[in-house]
Assembly symmetry: C2
Homo-oligomer: 335 residues x 2
């Protein structure tokens, strides 16, 4: 049967002929001192389901042209919906609204002044119930991750401002004795306010602005999955994915720093901070089927898992739609 | 202090301490049945040199707005420089030149008719010395890799038409007993017409339209480096990079399918087809220094090597410019 053939050879066996995800058996070959094995590949009937998950990470983007740029110190640092611009226009001593952009009053020429004056406006908008879910947590506004923030705004207003948010996600995987990939999957607690009961990564989190991404993922590995520091430090940075959604409140451009951690076969992660109900080790085929055919994973986890499959050769270029999928990993402004 | 907090925060050991590329020593730790080691990281003083290599792959792009789209069957499949549009305008029975685009005569409604009529024009332009370096090799014109070609054109005209070209590149690497990365480097023969004497990958090549990318890289591994089929088949697809240059003749948008092959320590590649003078196994630090500080590598190899370093955690997100570098891996139209 064609699908049971492994490695593409002439690409024929990469073609999709059924509905199931098939697994190519590994074969050991030895050269010199190292045993090398033919890489595992997933035989997906098509990449359509995966591409659908990418689209879900970029929802509402057809409305992008309606948004007005937020320009601070000559740089575009965010975007507003027209409804929110209308609200800001009532505070002309802080926000200058013109035909093509929103900027701040020129006398607000330091981050500290901007932060203070904008906070005053946002508190009023909170009291008017324009901004909901106040967190009392300040978020940096910047045109790129490594720049100093131009100001800080209350986190509940981040989406209204269309500010880029950053996170860290880690794929916790195992390669078993036969060379097959497995991925540790977390089931989110039903009591979590966001995405209750959804499937998640072994460790992930928002990126605070006073911690490095690497220090952050190590902390998340320890806090969320009880991975000891010595082991957590073996997490490898492997790039970034980005996506942008437009929600009722505004633009949400996200950048996730991605990490892989190869865990020893005997290691079992344990929930620690109450955010995770349980962890399970899934064969990569089950992960692929769940990503392709369901929305069981927290939306952005799908992107990070697809990126993992692309980087580890589990999905290959002989399959139609491969380049679209590769490109879909960074649909958002990755800066 | 709130605003001056540098993101990198805790990651002091990732910081750059001098002008040299430093190596973080690996430390073995054992969990369960598998030995895991702290990942190797390169301590680059900055990512500026790497970013410069990315820019060199995307040269001349400031002139992009001067180009006129080539539209076939309603899809943009290429772009022309104004000088070449002027030439095409002398053949109104084949090329329809309007204010905003160049299209083909509507009666050319099959790939075969288009190929034949365009060939007729191109032969005249060859005889007029407008098109140089005629190859007698047909190139597919398509809006994306997996689409059927809308027509075929002589390869020497590809850049005049701004047609996307595809290639395959393979990083041949070794991880030594202490967990350090080494990369096999090829020195291109001085007698090669293109890029003589430049450094190159262990195997790479253009992508013919009658072969799958995977079959192609296996073929290149065998032909260029004498890697036996059984070993060549262990090459893993790991994504794609893309870049676009504007040269004197026109636009050159390239997409490279990338592969990694982990070679056994005892294996030595051998030149076979006369294209490579010799192969050398370099510590990854030497590769990084050469990429960052020289133009010794064939231009697009730099991109594929940087992508390798990003995917293998050799460059990390705590370093300023990381996201720019990540984004720079697919500056071109990756479709």
């Amino acid at each position: 049967m064609l699908l049971s053939a492994n490695r593409p050879g002439q690409a024929l066996c990469r073609r999709t002929l059924g509905k199931q995800v098939h697994f190519c058996s590994s074969k050991h070959i030895t050269r010199g001192a190292v045993a090398t094995m033919e890489p595992q590949t997933l035989q997906l009937p098509s990449l359509t389901g995966m591409m659908q998950r990418v689209k879900e990470c970029n929802e509402g983007m057809e409305a992008i042209s309606m948004l007005k740029p937020f320009v601070v110190a000559g740089k575009k640092v965010g975007q507003f919906k027209p409804e929110f611009v209308e609200q800001l226009s009532h505070y002309p001593s802080v926000f200058h609204v013109s035909e093509c952009q929103v900027s701040l009053a020129p006398e607000l020429d330091t981050p500290e002044k901007r932060t203070a004056q904008v906070a005053r406006v946002l508190e009023e908008l909170r009291d008017k119930k324009v901004i909901l879910g106040w967190r009392n947590e300040l978020y940096p506004v910047t045109s790129s991750f490594y720049d100093k923030p131009d100001l800080l705004v209350e986190r509940a207003a981040a989406t209204h401002f269309g500010i880029k948010a950053y996170g860290v996600h880690c794929n916790g995987y195992v390669i078993d004795e036969t060379g097959r990939y497995k991925l540790w999957i977390a089931k989110r607690s039903m009591s979590k306010p966001n995405w209750p009961g959804k499937l998640d990564h072994i460790a992930a989190g928002g990126q605070p602005h006073n911690l490095s991404p690497t220090a952050n993922i190590i902390k998340e590995c320890e806090e969320e999955a009880s991975i000891p520091l010595e082991l957590a430090r073996t997490a490898k940075p492997v790039g970034a994915v980005s996506y942008t959604t437009i929600s009722p409140t505004g633009l949400k451009p996200d950048v996730l720093f991605t990490f892989d951690i190869q865990l020893p076969l005997g290691f079992t992660p344990k929930p620690q901070d109450g955010e995770v109900e349980y962890f399970e080790l899934w064969p990569i085929e089950r992960v692929a089927q769940t990503v392709a055919n369901t929305t069981d994973f927290k939306t952005n986890c799908n992107l990070v898992i697809i990126d993992f499959m692309l980087r580890h050769g589990l999905i290959g270029p002989d399959q139609e739609g491969y380049l679209n999928l590769v490109r879909g990993m960074r649909n958002g402004d990755c800066s």
